[in-house]
Symmetry: C2
Subunit: 155 residues, 2 copies
DNA sequence: CTCCTATAGTTTCATTTGCAACCAGCATAG
DNA sequence: CTATGCTGGTTGCAAATGAAACTATAGGAG
């Protein structure tokens, strides 16, 4: 039996992590420089922007898989900067509904084109079809792992 | 002009980070449970295993883009567990050459098949061609970003 | 009602991370 | 050879992270 070997370079989880770090650094530094936002804050803004009627922190955490502490801190910081507003949640006094303030909307509108431009730059060498396939693969990997987790964690 | 919008879900840097976190959690917990290794430690082992004549920490950091502190700590921990050995580097007394101990070799041989199995599981739904495409895209993204960095940091 | 358990969100604390200062050993210029 | 600056590696410290404890409200079950 031949000795099994593994070049780290060819190990996909490693490659994925390597590339993601590179992309993450690029994106994080762009947001930080241009808008003074951390990634977690940007994500909160983006999710809130998609739900004009308001979202709870819990929903944000669920959707993005960010820790609830992370969401809590990001939201607190955005509220302090008056980018986000907190309305009471009639159905449940424990939670609040987060919405963008006018200022938050304005910032969001300023970020979106920059974010899209950055995305285009990073993926500049690929065709739309390639990008679509890449995206589809990522989603399938998610599906495999999330199913697996559900199966592995029988309540 | 129509209002630009952006679903976070469709934003590729986000998707990439989401999936990578999922994969990373899976892999990290597998290594941790099965071998008591952290990701950084596993990477150091893998890189050292590829260079039987020994590598310096600096080279490891360069190759994996891990911080030199991370490499230093991972190496220290592996040496303490006698998985790694440190030989003097004749040409430069500041650095050492790291090699696997017999024990380290044995552990490496035990990990490799598990790592490959995990990789196969995560990518189970894809054909070899799809995987190759995916890998190639990751490498191209790296290339774009690393070139960009070089251009952006004129000495 | 009143208890009991469960959940949203915050706070605390311990751990992990990485920058920056540091301590060798190296390398070049005088 | 000896100053001066550079590089490999470690250490110290400050910031980021996340698990667990805590607070306040919900939502039953009796």
């Amino acid at each position: 039996m031949t000795k099994q070997s593994l070049r780290l370079d060819d190990f996909l989880p490693y490659r994925l992590s390597f590339t993601t770090n590179l992309v993450g650094e690029t994106v994080a530094s762009a947001y930080e420089q241009a808008f003074g936002l951390r990634i977690a804050e940007w994500r909160v803004i983006a999710v809130v922007a998609e739900s004009p009627q308001g979202v709870t922190q819990q929903a944000i955490g669920l959707k993005t898989r960010m820790d609830k502490v992370t969401v809590s801190r990001a939201a607190a910081s955005l509220i302090a900067r008056t980018l986000l507003e907190r309305r009471p949640h009639d159905a449940d006094q424990r939670s609040h509904l987060l919405t963008l303030s006018a200022e938050g909307e304005a910032l969001y509108s300023a970020i979106v084109p920059k974010a899209l431009a950055l995305e285009r730059q990073i993926f500049s060498r690929f065709s739309a079809a390639e990008i679509a396939r890449f995206d589809a693969m990522l989603r399938q990997i998610d599906a495999i792992l999330l199913e697996g987790a559900a199966a592995a964690a029988p309540s």
